[in-house]
């Protein structure tokens, strides 16, 4: 289990290869990579800054992964979330989950993303031609998280 908040880029291939390496029972790894879009709500995005609540972030992510581990068979998981300045096309987040069967891997990975989106203390500020703006939370993210109750 690996949970990291960092400014630097990460290597998706390395992270997925490292997950559950040598565990003979792992049958599949589901993952999600979130990217900075160059367009958002119709406007051009030149870049963004990700702020977080350092004392809480790790705890919140650990709690989300623990909830997933209580609901599905997880053999290993990694969550990496970047903070600081990011350019369009750069990776923001990686969630990867190794399990025995793919159903559990997919469900746990999507659950972690949905909860991260609504419960982990990160905030995005976008740079646009019209100036800076804080990204607003999407109602669809709340709905996605509610599905799992």
């Amino acid at each position: 289990m690996k949970i990291i908040v960092q400014e630097q880029e990460f290597d998706v291939g390395d992270e997925i290869s490292g997950l559950a390496a040598g565990d003979p029972g792992v049958g599949g790894i589901a993952s999600f990579v979130g990217l900075v879009r160059a367009e958002n709500e119709g406007g051009t995005v030149a870049g963004m800054t990700l702020e977080h609540y350092p004392a809480m972030t790790r705890k919140a992510l650990e709690d989300i992964v623990a909830q997933a581990a209580a609901r599905w068979v997880l053999r290993d998981a990694v969550v990496i979330h970047r903070v600081g300045a990011l350019k369009p096309g750069e990776r923001i987040v990686l969630v990867a989950v190794a399990s025995v069967h793919r159903g559990d891997a997919f469900a746990a990975c999507e659950f972690i993303m949905d909860y991260l989106k609504t419960r982990a203390p990160f905030w995005k500020k976008e740079q646009t031609p019209a100036g800076e703006r804080w990204v607003e939370a999407r109602a669809s993210d709340e709905e996605a998280a509610r599905r799992w109750r």
Binding site: A55, K59, H81, A120, P121, F122, W123, K125
Partner: protein
């Protein structure tokens, strides 16, 4: 009792501060009482807490609600709905 207050993102900018210490009456309190104190302060606090903006509260780094208890020394963070991922 005293609590440490933290503001993040748009709320940090709106209140013009990231952190402050706040004195609350009594030895125990609740998030709702803290919000009442802030709403009564005037300026951007009164303005903000009069709206129905769906701010979030964490007590000691755990998401909390208006009825959540507060004790001396607690860290209370107030922030916008999160937008990571």
């Amino acid at each position: 009792m005293k609590v440490k207050l933290l503001y993040f993102a748009a709320l940090r900018e709106r209140f013009g501060t990231a952190e402050e210490t706040l004195e609350l009456p009594g030895e125990q309190s609740r998030v709702a009482a803290l919000i009442d104190v802030l709403r009564g302060r005037g300026g951007p606090w009164t303005e903000f807490f009069a709206t129905d903006y769906p701010y979030r509260v964490a007590v000691n780094q755990q998401l909390a609600g208006l009825v959540s208890p507060l004790s001396d020394g607690d860290e209370v963070a107030i922030f916008p709905p999160v937008t990571g991922g």
